[in-house]
């Protein structure tokens, strides 16, 4: 009997293992099918190959057109320039010393009388005054510039030569009315005009410099007075970095965006589209396992994603190298923009593989939720909005690969590739492990999610009913369970975090009084952490005790928890110090917190313990290790429960340094919560830890004998004796080991099975199929 049962179990297990042959079969069919679709072929292959060259050609044309359009300058009053150092070579051009040869400039010049004559306007020769003339010239030249007849107009008024040649009187500059100014009219609304202004200003500068030098040498001053020192620009970045800096930013971005887009549309067609057309059920009733179907489709989507990315990026690369070479332009500071270095670009291809897989898995999972192609497109919009910032973030100036940025999925990988492309191998290798781990974890989670979607009957066959608010609310009330569902747990966590975020925005200044401080602490704890938790637990579950995990654990865990709190505190303090050394607190933040820490140190001890230890431990444990944990632990989510509650707990602390320390503490508390099945030990550990943190200063300064044994007062604040740190850590480990041997009194997975205790009891459970 046992033999056949064992055999059966083995066969069932083997039957669940995906076979490579099936996966390849499904993959090749999907690929062939997509490639037979003309639209897909066009979008993926033809469009990039045609689009970029066309756009490139267009750019070339535009660049050539604008280049050929020279700057037009009008000089009015050229007759007033006589007897001055020459500005104009003739009526149609500037003196060649001042002009940049590369830029063609058209010059039209008028004498003062010609301009002031203003054809078409009546004037009476007898009543001509210089003011009238000046006004007329002003209005005429303004009109010219506004109309665009000339990009820029230079007006040399009468008396210019006289006032410019006259040296400054020794007692200060004369009144402005006596000093004739040269007017440069331009139009800020016109790009052309702005560029022309720059050029003409340069010409005038050079003219002025030459004039000044002449004056100085005329008065016998040695010209070397003007140039006391030289500046030598030294760019330390190696040649390769200079060339590739532009590419290393743009190319990964383009590739990633196209990898995302290239994954989405095949995913929609392969899942939601097949649901719509009815072919998904055909596949589901075939011998192919669900996992084989997912892997086969995932492979196809990933192939399309990579193909799209490579073809688009490649086409853009080739086109832009050629176009840039033609235009002869590049980012400032570079004279040549050669082809990007090929070797490092290969890193980009390598990095594309996991990122493509990640996007494909996400796209597949999201598309599975849709019932039709149209609905799939609606779901993909939010997905784009979530992933796009991750791709945009590295493009921001100042974002570089560091310990902080390497843990961000997608962004970290992007920055890593950038470092490799720029040739900073050592720096990149240092962060490689973290980036790989983060990417690997995200990939694993995404593929698990995609598989789960394909195993869920409600996803594959569900729907048809419209979602209605009334029905949903009724469903929430009618289908309450003893503990939260994972969905409700996530929603509760999200509500808490969002409420805390907005709460922090509202607080502009740290209050100075103790009452103010109390409010600052109590409000978020009670209003934003405790309130949503209690509300959701009351409304959405049938048992507060179960949903908040207020069970009584094994009696030994309670004193052990207190011991853990005491003995783990030194290690916790060391961890916090380590974190502060890696991410030092900024001076502004420390200064802002000063009134707060002052108040805390001076207030009565019991109030401080109540405020900083009791209230937070109770509220936060009820929320994170109670309601949220109870929801997330269901459906075999033990790992998920511990990790997600720890992350949420960390994020809920505002300051980065606190958040990191809190996340580690959260992991420990989550584990204890899991093994004891209750939040009571967690509350004790949390309370003890916080109490010790706020009491350290007082104990160290109080001169208490026991305190002196364990603590010493140093310049940086009270420190634990190193020996005590080691001893306490061993005690803590022993206690935790003990906790590890426990198993919780209540099986929280039972909450799932509570559902199944329906009124339709199954008498056939013990039946065997009736014999023939």
């Amino acid at each position: 009997m046992t033999n056949t049962a064992q055999q059966k179990r083995r066969r069932a297990l083997l039957a669940d293992r995906p076979r490579l042959s099936s996966i390849v079969l499904i993959y090749t069919r999907e690929m062939r099918d997509q490639l037979r679709d003309r639209r897909t072929l066009f979008t993926i292959a033809i469009l990039p190959i045609l689009l970029y060259p066309l756009v490139g050609m267009l750019l070339l044309q535009i660049a050539q057109f604008t280049r050929q359009h020279p700057t037009t300058v009008c000089v009015v009053g050229r007759d007033h320039l006589e007897n001055l150092p020459p500005l104009l070579a003739d009526a149609e051009s500037f003196d060649e010393d001042f002009v940049d040869d590369a830029v063609p400039t058209e010059v039209v010049s008028y004498t003062w009388e010609d301009a002031a004559a203003a054809p078409g306007k009546d004037h009476f020769p007898n009543s001509e005054t210089s003011e009238k003339q000046i006004r007329r010239v002003d209005s005429l030249t303004s009109l010219w510039v506004r109309r665009g007849d000339f990009d820029v107009v230079l007006v040399f008024p009468p008396g210019f030569a006289a006032s410019a040649s006259t040296p400054m009187p020794p007692d200060g500059p004369p009144d402005s009315s006596e000093r004739a100014e040269l007017k440069l009219l331009y139009n800020v609304a016109s790009d052309q005009s702005m560029v022309a202004r720059e050029r003409v200003a340069g010409i005038l500068n050079r003219w002025r410099t030459g004039w000044v030098r002449d004056r100085l040498s005329d008065s016998g001053v040695d010209l070397t007075v003007l140039d006391p020192f030289d500046v030598a620009d030294v760019n330390i970045a190696p040649e390769r970095t200079r060339e590739s800096a532009f590419w290393s930013k743009l190319l990964p971005f383009v590739m990633l965006v196209w990898a995302m887009t290239g994954a989405f549309y095949p995913a929609i067609d392969l899942v939601a589209g097949e649901k719509e057309r009815g072919t998904l059920e055909t596949l589901l009733c075939s011998p192919a396992l669900r996992s084989e179907i997912v892997w086969g489709k995932l492979g196809a989507v990933m192939t399309f994603s990579m193909m799209t990315a490579i073809l688009n990026a490649g086409s853009m690369l080739v086109t832009s190298s050629l176009v840039f070479k033609q235009i002869g332009v590049g980012p400032a500071g570079m004279s040549t923009m050669g082809a990007p270095p090929i070797g490092p670009m290969l890193w980009l291809l390598v990095a594309l593989v996991p990122l493509s897989a990640l996007f494909s898995a996400l796209a597949l999972a999201v598309a599975a939720m849709a019932r039709s192609s149209k609905e799939g497109q609606y779901y993909l919009m939010p997905l784009m909005m979530v992933t796009l910032p991750l791709v945009l973030l590295p493009m921001l100036p100042g974002t570089t690969l560091s310990a902080g940025t390497s843990v961000i999925p997608v962004t970290g990988m992007f920055l890593l590739v950038r470092s490799l492309v720029e040739g900073q191998y050592v720096h990149a290798m240092a962060h490689l492990p973290v980036v790989l781990i983060v990417t690997g974890v995200c990939l694993l989670m995404a593929t698990r999610w995609a598989r789960r979607q394909f195993e869920s009957e409600s996803v594959l066959f569900g729907g048809g009913d419209q979602w209605e608010l009334n029905s949903w609310v009724k469903h929430l009330w009618r289908d309450r369970q003893t503990a939260a569902t994972p969905g409700q747990a996530f929603v509760c966590g999200a509500i808490i975090l969002v409420a805390l975020f907005f709460g922090k925005l509202v607080v502009t200044k740290i209050p100075e009084t103790f009452v103010g401080i109390s409010q600052l602490i109590l409000m978020p704890q009670i209003g934003m952490i405790l309130a949503p938790t209690l509300l959701m637990a009351t409304v959405m579950t049938t048992s507060l005790r179960t949903s908040l995990r207020l069970r009584m654990p094994h009696w030994t865990t309670l004193p052990i928890a207190v011991v853990i709190g005491f003995s783990l505190h030194p290690t916790y303090v060391m961890l916090a110090q380590f974190i502060s050394s890696v991410y030092p607190i900024s001076e502004q933040a420390a200064a802002a917190m000063k009134p707060f820490t002052d108040q805390i140190s001076s207030a009565p001890w019991l109030s401080v313990v109540f405020l900083m230890a009791l209230v937070p431990s109770v509220c936060e444990e009820l929320a994170f290790r109670g309601f949220i944990f109870g929801g997330l632990v269901r459906e075999n989510g033990r790992f998920r429960a511990v990790v997600v509650t720890a992350v949420m707990f960390g994020v809920s602390h505002g300051v980065l340094q606190q958040s990191i320390a809190a996340t580690f503490m959260g992991l420990l508390l989550g584990w204890v919560a899991l093994r004891t099945g209750s939040i009571l030990p967690c509350i004790l550990i949390h309370f003890t830890n916080n109490m010790l943190s706020v009491s350290m200063e007082r104990v160290a300064g109080s001169g208490n004998a026991a305190g002196n044994l364990l603590l010493t007062q140093t310049a940086a604040g009270p420190q634990y004796h190193p020996l005590w740190v080691v001893v306490s850590l061993s005690i803590a480990i022993a206690c935790l080991w003990y906790v590890g041997t426990l198993s919780p009194a209540a099986d929280e997975q039972q909450a799932d099975r509570v559902l199944e205790g329906s009124q339709l009891s199954d008498p056939s459970a013990s039946l065997a199929p009736a014999s023939a």
Partner: protein, 309 residues
């Protein structure tokens, strides 16, 4: 096609004879469903029982009809049999294999045709059937032989290389059947297979089903059209709201309910069932009345009587 009784198909040898791998199991009790229950969590209705303690047996060389209005649970039962859905409780076995623990074996022994199982638009008939044959693990050579035989028998040779989008409804139907039969399963399930077909194609399909039955296959045929059931099925089960109201041959049913007209019999059963439900509901103190979306049988029978009167 060989007569059933030799286990489930694994491959054909050179002469086209199909080889089997397992010794025959339960030769005559081919489909056995006992106390099958399937429940869903539905937003509107809460815990919704789609299949409620359904039990029946089907033998080889028999066409078993599942008759019932829309929403009766027929498709759900058949999806459970073909391992597309998992039952909430109860036992379902196909050719001796349990649908839950031996799902892979069940899929080897069953062919499922539904109006929800469509064909691929961009694959030709040959490619489509070949693809599913390959998924069943059939080798290239024997698959080719099998496909030739199948296409001959079903008279599909003129549209071998026509892609799905260009096929008529009749051709698509044939491709679906070929796809379901490529591995020569002893059990075939047709779920509302005549839905949307014109009369000629539907008649042709029924003919094919009869031929299959005569060659010893075990067939389940679900529909809501009474004439098909009367003409085709050896035994009939009437389903309503997830329950089987009665099972038996046409003769047995008419005798049991003293009603010659099958339609009258059917509607009578349904309305009596609804009546019972309402009484039970009022007993239990819950609000009575049919849930939203269900057809009220009494109204239908009223209009029917009105028409014949």
């Amino acid at each position: 096609m060989l007569a059933f009784g030799e286990g489930c198909a694994v491959g054909t040898d050179k002469t086209g004879k199909i080889e089997t791998s397992h010794p025959p199991k339960r030769r005559f009790r081919v489909i056995h469903v006992q106390h099958l229950i399937k429940t869903y969590e539905d937003l509107h209705r809460g815990r919704f029982v789609a299949v409620d303690r359904v039990s029946f047996t089907v033998r080889s060389g028999e066409i078993f009809g599942l008759l019932g209005p829309n929403g009766a649970g027929k498709t759900t039962v058949l999806r459970i049999l073909s391992t597309v859905l998992a039952p909430t409780s109860g036992i379902a076995t196909v050719a001796g294999y349990n649908v839950e623990s031996d799902a892979a074996d069940v899929r080897r022994c069953i062919g499922f045709v539904s109006n929800n199982t469509a064909i691929y638009e961009r694959m030709t008939a040959w490619e489509m059937v070949e693809y599913f044959g390959r998924l069943h693990g059939m080798g290239k050579d024997l698959l080719r032989v099998r496909l030739e035989t199948l296409f001959d028998q079903l008279r599909m040779n003129d549209f071998r290389d026509v892609p799905g989008s260009k096929m008529s409804t009749g051709m698509r139907q044939k491709v679906s059947i070929a796809r379901a039969m490529v591995h020569d399963p002893p059990v075939l399930v047709f779920d509302e297979a005549t839905l949307g077909l014109d009369v000629l194609v539907a008649r042709n399909l029924l003919g094919v089903i009869r031929t299959l039955r005569d060659s010893g296959k075990c067939l389940i045929f679900s529909t809501h059209i009474m004439s098909e059931v009367e003409r085709l099925c050896d035994r009939i089960a009437i389903m309503h709201r997830g329950r089987i109201l009665d099972t038996g041959t046409l003769g047995e049913l008419t005798e049991r309910h003293s009603q010659d007209d099958f339609e009258e019999l059917f509607f009578g059963l349904l309305s009596r069932h609804e009546q019972n439900d309402r009484e039970e509901a009022s007993f239990a103190g819950l609000s009575s009345g049919p849930p939203d979306g269900d057809t009220d049988i009494s109204d239908a029978s009223d209009t029917h009587e009105g028409a014949t009167a």
